[in-house]
């Protein structure tokens, strides 16, 4: 195989992967009503609640610690430069805007990808290996509707919630820094925060978080559904789920940030 053939085959595989993802995405969208309370099928809503606990509630301590650490780091790094110009107050803008627009959604996505994306892949991969997915098909049940949809709904609700919590903890870490360095009261800090961020910053971050949740769930599940062979294939799929979803999250982040930037310019 020459280099051109290798590149071509690699490209075809990547396009096939993206095609498979988009196909699964539309199947997931069509399956979502089955998981909703009242109108959905019985029992599915409880599974979505269980997933919400796993994706959201269980991740909160880690999100809180990571957000507080990142908030403090951002404040320290920003203050080191801004202090030279007597502009220490702008640390508040840096932390508040940085978190609501960028760090909150991104940090949350990385944590959810590492915790839940890998878990989705491992769970579904194991189901493939033990013929549980085949059993679902023979029961005339759609694996996307049965396995993916509750996870998708749970992630679409919990990832934005986690993003908001990440923003709060990150910004509160900035408050801690400002109090320690300038004895700034929390009330004044909060007022500066509300002065610096706009509603569109918050909504922009939440739109990003919805896109990131979609990527994490679909990549994690797709890697699981693709598993062929034994337990070692499940291990490989787990790694692949985290690597691919993190990569795609960052690409999506670039796309959304560029789009929001261009929208602000107009």
């Amino acid at each position: 195989m020459n280099i051109l053939e290798g590149i071509g085959e690699g490209m075809i595989q990547q396009f096939a992967y993206i095609g498979g993802l988009s196909d699964q995405f539309w199947s997931g969208i069509r399956a979502l009503p089955c998981v909703l309370p009242v109108i959905g099928k019985r029992g599915r809503w409880q599974e979505a609640i269980r997933q919400m606990t796993a994706i959201g509630v269980a991740a909160l301590p880690m999100i809180a610690i990571m957000a507080a650490s990142a908030g403090m780091i951002l404040a320290l790094q920003g203050a080191a430069e801004l202090r030279r110009f007597g502009a220490l107050r702008y640390v508040i803008d840096l932390v508040a805007v940085g978190f609501t627009r960028e760090l909150g959604p991104l940090l949350t996505a990385i944590v959810v990808s590492g915790r839940s994306g890998s878990a989705f892949s491992a769970e579904i991969g194991t189901m493939v290996v033990t013929s549980e997915i085949d059993a679902l098909r023979t029961l005339a049940l759609d694996p996307v509707e049965f396995v993916l949809a509750p996870k998708y709904l749970a992630a679409m609700i919990m990832v934005p919630c986690l993003t908001v919590m990440c923003n709060v903890f990150g910004i509160l870490a900035g408050a801690g820094f400002m109090y320690l360095s300038t004895r700034m009261a929390l009330g004044i800090y909060v007022r500066y925060v509300f002065d610096s961020i706009l509603l569109r910053d918050v909504f922009g971050g939440l739109i990003k978080s919805l896109a990131f949740a979609t990527i994490i769930v679909h990549v994690g599940c797709m890697e699981g559904f693709k598993v062929r062979g034994g337990p070692e294939a499940v291990g490989r799929s787990t790694t692949s789920a985290v690597v691919r979803s993190t990569f795609l999250v960052i690409l999506a982040d670039l796309f959304f940030t560029a789009a929001f930037y261009l929208a602000r310019m107009q």
Binding site: T130, D134, A135, L139, A140, L141
Partner: protein
């Protein structure tokens, strides 16, 4: 002679150039038990996977009640699958739910039966395979033989017209194995369903017919 419920015509399967099945033909008629016997790797599971529509053949076709399952709409395939109960070689119980929930799953998902009715049906089905007292256990708490029986219970829960079992007696002791066969024969006599049982070397009471 009755019209076949399952017809396999010239079924050939090859994986990466390796021929697994070569022009297999068979007909299974109503109320008939067919036992497939063969050495390890001879393609028994592959044939079953094709019969239940999990894999598409390289050539040939499979008709279930006259419908070509590889050339029909997804909706029709779903309807056909609801008439087929399958017990897999590895049992394939859903590990995140209890044994009774496994058996109840097809009833909850594919029927409008009320929960109390489903509970009674699940109990009766589990009792038929000797697992009446094990319904609350999770699949990982069951022995290999109990898993097999739970898988059989799930397969017969919807009272399907066609049953496909892959190694149903592997891992079962002779007494439980014989009880399982008795239960299936009882069901055959009383409910006129067809079963396809495979590799039942340890099962004595069957009356195999092959085409």
């Amino acid at each position: 002679m009755a019209t076949p419920v399952i017809s396999v015509h010239d079924l050939s399967v090859n994986y990466d150039g390796h021929q697994v099945l070569d022009r297999v033909n068979l007909d299974i008629r109503p109320n008939e038990i067919l036992v497939l016997l063969g050495g390890s790797g001879s393609g028994k599971t592959t044939l079953l996977h094709h019969i239940i529509g999990l894999e598409a053949p390289s050539s040939g076709n499979i008709l279930i009640r006259g419908v070509d399952i590889n050339n029909c709409s997804a909706e029709i395939l779903k309807q056909i699958r609801r008439q087929v109960g399958v017990s897999f070689q590895e049992a394939a119980l859903f590990n995140s739910i209890s044994t009774e929930e496994n058996v109840a799953l097809p009833l909850r998902e594919l029927t409008d039966l009320a929960d109390p009715v489903i509970e009674v049906m699940v109990y009766m089905t589990l009792a038929a395979v000797g697992l009446a007292e094990s319904g609350k256990l999770m699949p990982h708490e069951l022995s290999g033989g109990m898993k097999k029986r739970a898988a059989v219970a799930r397969a017969i829960a919807l009272d399907p017209g066609i049953l496909v079992f892959d190694e149903p007696s592997a891992g079962l002791d002779p007494i439980v194995s014989a009880e399982l066969v008795r239960a299936l024969h009882f069901r055959q006599r009383n409910q006129s369903s067809e079963r396809n049982l495979r590799r039942l070397r340890s099962i004595e009471a069957s009356n195999p017919t092959s085409t």
